[in-house]
């Protein structure tokens, strides 16, 4: 590996090496807050480097790109992990997390995700995906005093392992069909009519199953609510945002390259998008647990994002990135609110427990309400423009049917997004005073809130950025 290659992968190196260092030194110096802070700084610096430094090489080792797109993704995932660390300060104290391990695992996840989004070959894709999936196995079950955490960890582990099998098999089949792992050539394998094409398609089928698991498309979504419910809230936040976003961003170029030849695949995606949107929406309706509701909501949003994937090209890509960022702000913020309401024994997630909380903790409740409304796509919150861009792209590229179903789903979805708001503000007070929340939590929530609001009023900067990275 040349120096230039190392330099090109500097952000990922910062994350990975930093993670290793934190893990090692963390064992000796058991200061939780210190390591969280260090991790935070590392993640931020990785984001800074990725954001500001031009990479000398366009592609490293035939596996990872250093395009603007890849750097953009790196920045976003690093920031998500930084945010996770920020929100975990009090939470980690509450549950006596090992600071070094927790931090380093999260940093590893960031490295994995950013590699995944940067992948240009199937090997790179596999490695990046597995890197953060492995980390998440641990993080989900990180709370050792919680049965549910263990159950969630188990569930994620089993499905993750099976999905890994599918992913690997799919990659292997595609390789068998095309003779290359590199996206461009690998796709050529199914583009040419021939004996090997069915093998390639079978590979794609496996791949889709794996992706379906990762971004929880129906019918591969069933684990999602259980895992989100059981995992520590900050980790659920990562699961719902970055972990899914990284997969989507990795597949976006893949599908775009597929072009016309992937009609079969697009058909399947079309079907998956529809059932994901509808099933997710309806399943979310009767939920009475905030985290489970958010899980189903993430399912629905993945359905929307599939529309963007289907549209493909710069239209679809821009819509996807824009949507993803805004969705992440809102969803992560919502999990952030759950985190900040957490007590030593439990997280406040049942609607019953949230009743009338809006008047005891008005600021966090209002912020949560804003996140819900943004997810529902109600202006003047950013979620509106996200959906707007998505549906516009869909209509523009002849996916009117999907757009209409999406609109219908988002209409029904309003009901379950309103329910937490109703519980918080419109029911009799039954809640007791909770922890007032720490400064770091407030900082993060305020950040998400301001972003949601500002992007809802003036989304132009983000749009320009998206256009810049996805010409």
């Amino acid at each position: 590996m040349s120096f230039a290659a190392l330099q090109s992968l500097l952000p990922q190196l910062i994350l990975a090496l930093g993670a290793t260092a934190v893990l090692m030194f963390g064992a000796w110096i058991p200061k939780r807050r210190l390591w969280l802070t260090v991790g935070l700084l590392l993640a931020l610096s990785a984001a800074l480097v990725a954001g500001l430094m031009e990479a000398p090489l366009a592609e490293v080792g035939g596996m990872y790109a250093t395009t603007l797109y890849a750097r953009f993704c790196t920045v976003v995932w690093s920031l998500t992990i930084a945010a996770t660390l920020l929100i975990s300060f009090r939470y980690a104290d509450l549950h006596r997390f090992g600071g070094g391990e927790y931090t380093s695992l999260l940093l590893f996840a960031a490295a994995g995700m950013s590699l995944l989004s940067a992948a240009t070959s199937l090997i790179g894709l596999f490695l990046g995906l597995e890197a953060f999936t492995l980390v998440l196995y641990i993080l989900i079950a990180f709370n050792r005093t919680d049965d549910r955490g263990a159950e969630a960890g188990l569930k994620y582990l089993v499905f993750g392992a099976v999905a890994t099998g599918f992913l690997a098999f799919g990659i292997a089949l595609i390789y068998a069909a095309s003779g290359s792992f590199h996206f461009q050539e690998a796709l050529a394998g199914i583009q040419i009519e021939g004996a090997l094409r069915p093998i390639g398609l079978a590979g794609w089928a496996m791949l889709l199953v794996a992706v379906g698991f990762k971004i929880s498309l129906v019918p591969f979504h069933l684990w999602t609510p259980d895992v989100y419910q059981g995992a520590p809230a900050p980790i659920s936040g990562v699961l719902a945002t970055a972990a899914k976003g990284a997969v989507l961003t990795a597949f976006l170029p893949l599908l775009t390259m597929l072009g016309e030849s992937g009609a079969e695949i697009k058909n399947v995606l079309w079907l998956l998008a529809i059932i994901t949107m509808l099933v997710g929406t309806f399943a979310a309706l009767p939920q009475t647990n905030l985290k489970r509701m958010l899980a189903y909501s993430s399912v629905v949003h993945m359905g929307y994002l599939l529309i963007a994937l289907l549209v493909g090209g710069s239209d679809g890509g821009q819509a996807l990135l824009f949507y993803l960022v805004i969705y992440s702000f809102a969803t992560f913020g919502a999990f952030g609110v759950v985190t900040s309401f957490a007590t030593e024994h439990e997280e406040l997630q049942e609607y019953e427990d949230l009743r009338g909380l809006g008047y005891l903790h008005p600021r966090r409740s209002i912020v949560l309400a804003a996140f819900m409304l943004s997810l529902a796509g109600i202006p003047p919150l950013a979620g509106f423009f996200a959906k707007f861009g998505l549906f516009q792209a869909a209509l523009r590229n002849g996916y009117a049917g999907l757009a209409i179903i999406g609109v219908f789903a988002s209409l029904v979805s309003v009901y379950y997004y309103l329910r937490p708001i109703i519980v918080l503000f419109m029911q009799e007070r039954s809640a007791y005073q909770l922890h007032p929340g720490s400064k770091s939590e407030y900082l993060l929530l305020a950040g998400c809130f301001v972003a949601i609001l500002a992007l809802g009023i003036y989304p132009e900067p983000l749009l320009n950025l998206v256009v810049l990275v996805l010409p």
């Binding site: 008005p362 109600i378 202006p379 549906f391 516009q392 309103l418 503000f425 419109m426 003036y458 132009e460």
Partner: protein, 495 residues
């Protein structure tokens, strides 16, 4: 329209964003309820004054006498375009006035007052934005901006079935709006394909060439949003619940302003953009208007909650307004717009009077009310006055609009007008039943014997004066409407 709009003082923006500023200030001082209500009062007074100032610019001709245009979201082709003509001027003044009334009448609101007043103010921005926006997406944003504050106002400060009402309101209006959104985007894309210019500007989109079926489809989508808001007959079911459960200020805003945004949307957007489809739809519109007119009146006749009676009366009156639109001529349109304003004032006033009665008696059930005149003659007198205006007594507000609508409609289609005249009878039936059950009859012994207090006088007197003036001398309003309305009618390309 005007090129040098950048040189103008941004009066419209100020009008629009001042309430938001006020809302922020309210939230900033959320720990001091007194501060928030004074801020709200100050803001809404300033807005009212500004709206009157805007009236000074009025030229009486058809174009925008105030116009602002700025780049906003280039990526989507969305611009920040505002314009004011005679129609929007009147609606803006009405908005500012009713907002002021809403603030004053909610003065002793002590449950989370900061949030309450902030929401009222934000609602004001939403409504005024709808009346001013000339970019379709900007319009849509303001259209939706009305939703959240109203949802909270009903849901948090409402009465028994508040959550049901709030959610129903939210979902109904959103369902309509999403149709509108899809149509707007499609129209925008179609225009872009034809001309290469991707824009949401109203005037540009009017030039889009559409086949008749496209036009009809878009028109129906637009109308879905507006029909829910107005509300037109089968889409009205959210309204009685929302009106009944809302706190008084929200009821005033709902009946006085929100319903008008639907009609405004039709005449400003749906009709000019899709004139052929509109022309085809007029008979259907008229029939729905008439059905709504009678149906709501009949239902109102049996209601036992006086607030619900007034809620249904709103549907009935809006049926009248709609009929005027369907008649599609100068007199009928002016009548419709005038009736909108009249109805805003009278119904708002009625809701206030009902709220005051409710405050004193603790009930709104006809069976439990009665003889208010004995204990509160002044309040009862105001209630009577507003009720009479609502039933269309000549010389009071609603009549002037109704008669113009009838006259205009008669010349377009006599049968519609004859049916509509019948509707007047039923409005008398339910209004008089309400009046009878409330202020006449044996006494219900309210627990609070106090007649009107100072602040209540302050609200009711201007409303009463307006009710009389709008009935006796509505000519200035009609003058302001004349040119814009005739311009729009010509634009519609109708006979």
């Amino acid at each position: 329209m005007t090129a040098d709009s950048s040189l103008q003082f941004p009066l419209l923006s100020l009008l629009l964003w001042l309430p938001i500023l006020g809302a922020l200030l309210c939230l900033l001082w959320y720990k001091a309820p007194a501060a928030s209500r004074w801020i709200a009062l100050g803001t809404s007074t300033a807005v009212f004054v500004l709206s009157l100032v805007a009236g000074l610019y009025s030229t009486g001709s058809a174009g925008w006498f105030l116009y602002e245009d700025a780049s906003w979201i280039e990526h989507f082709g969305i611009r920040y375009t505002l314009g004011m003509d005679g129609i929007s001027l009147l609606l803006i003044i009405l908005t500012a006035f009713l907002q002021l009334v809403a603030v004053v009448i909610s003065w002793d609101q002590d449950k989370f007052s900061a949030l309450f007043f902030a929401l009222i103010l934000v609602l004001g921005t939403g409504i005024m934005g709808v009346f001013l926006a000339l970019d379709l997406i900007l319009f849509y944003l303001f259209w939706e901006l009305m939703l959240i504050p109203m949802f909270f106002l009903i849901g948090v400060w409402g009465y028994k079935r508040k959550v049901y009402a709030a959610v129903k309101f939210f979902l109904f209006t959103l369902a309509g709006s999403l149709c509108l959104l899809l149509a707007v985007i499609s129209l925008h894309l179609l225009h872009g394909e034809q001309t290469g210019v991707y824009t949401f500007a109203l005037e540009a989109l009017q030039q889009t060439r559409l086949s008749f079926s496209q036009e009809m489809l878009f028109y129906l989508c637009f109308m879905a949003a507006f029909a829910v808001k107005v509300p037109i007959f089968p889409f009205h079911s959210w309204l009685p619940d929302a009106h009944t459960e809302a706190p008084v200020a929200a009821s005033v805003d709902l009946a006085g302003l929100l319903l008008k945004t639907g009609v405004y949307g039709m005449i400003r957007f749906a009709f000019p953009l899709f004139p052929h489809a509109a022309e085809k739809s007029l008979p259907v519109l008229a029939v729905l208007a008439l059905i709504g007119l009678f149906y709501a009146a009949w239902i109102a006749y049996l209601q036992t909650d006086i607030k619900r009676i007034v809620a249904y009366s709103s549907i009935s009156h809006l049926g009248f307004v709609l009929l005027g639109l369907a008649a599609w001529n100068q007199t009928a349109w002016e009548g419709s717009l005038l009736l909108m304003i009249n109805h805003g004032v009278t119904t708002g006033a009625l809701f206030i009077a009902i709220a005051l009665i409710h405050k004193r008696t603790g009930t709104r059930e006809i069976a439990k009310l009665g003889g208010i005149w004995k204990s509160q003659p002044n309040l009862a007198a105001f209630f009577l006055l507003f009720s009479l205006a609502s039933l269309g007594l000549p010389g009071l507000a609603n009549f002037s609009g109704e008669i113009l609508i009838l006259i205009g409609t008669f010349s377009s289609n006599a049968v519609w007008a004859i049916f509509a005249v019948g509707g007047v009878l039923f409005s008398a039936a339910y209004i008089l039943r309400m009046v009878q059950g409330t202020i006449w009859g044996p006494c219900c012994e309210p627990f609070d014997k106090q007649d009107l207090g100072g602040r209540e006088w302050l609200v009711l007197i201007p409303l009463a004066v307006l009710v009389v003036i709008l009935g006796c001398y509505p000519q200035p309003l009609l003058d302001s409407l004349r040119e814009p309305v005739s311009f729009m009618l010509r634009q519609g390309g109708q006979p």
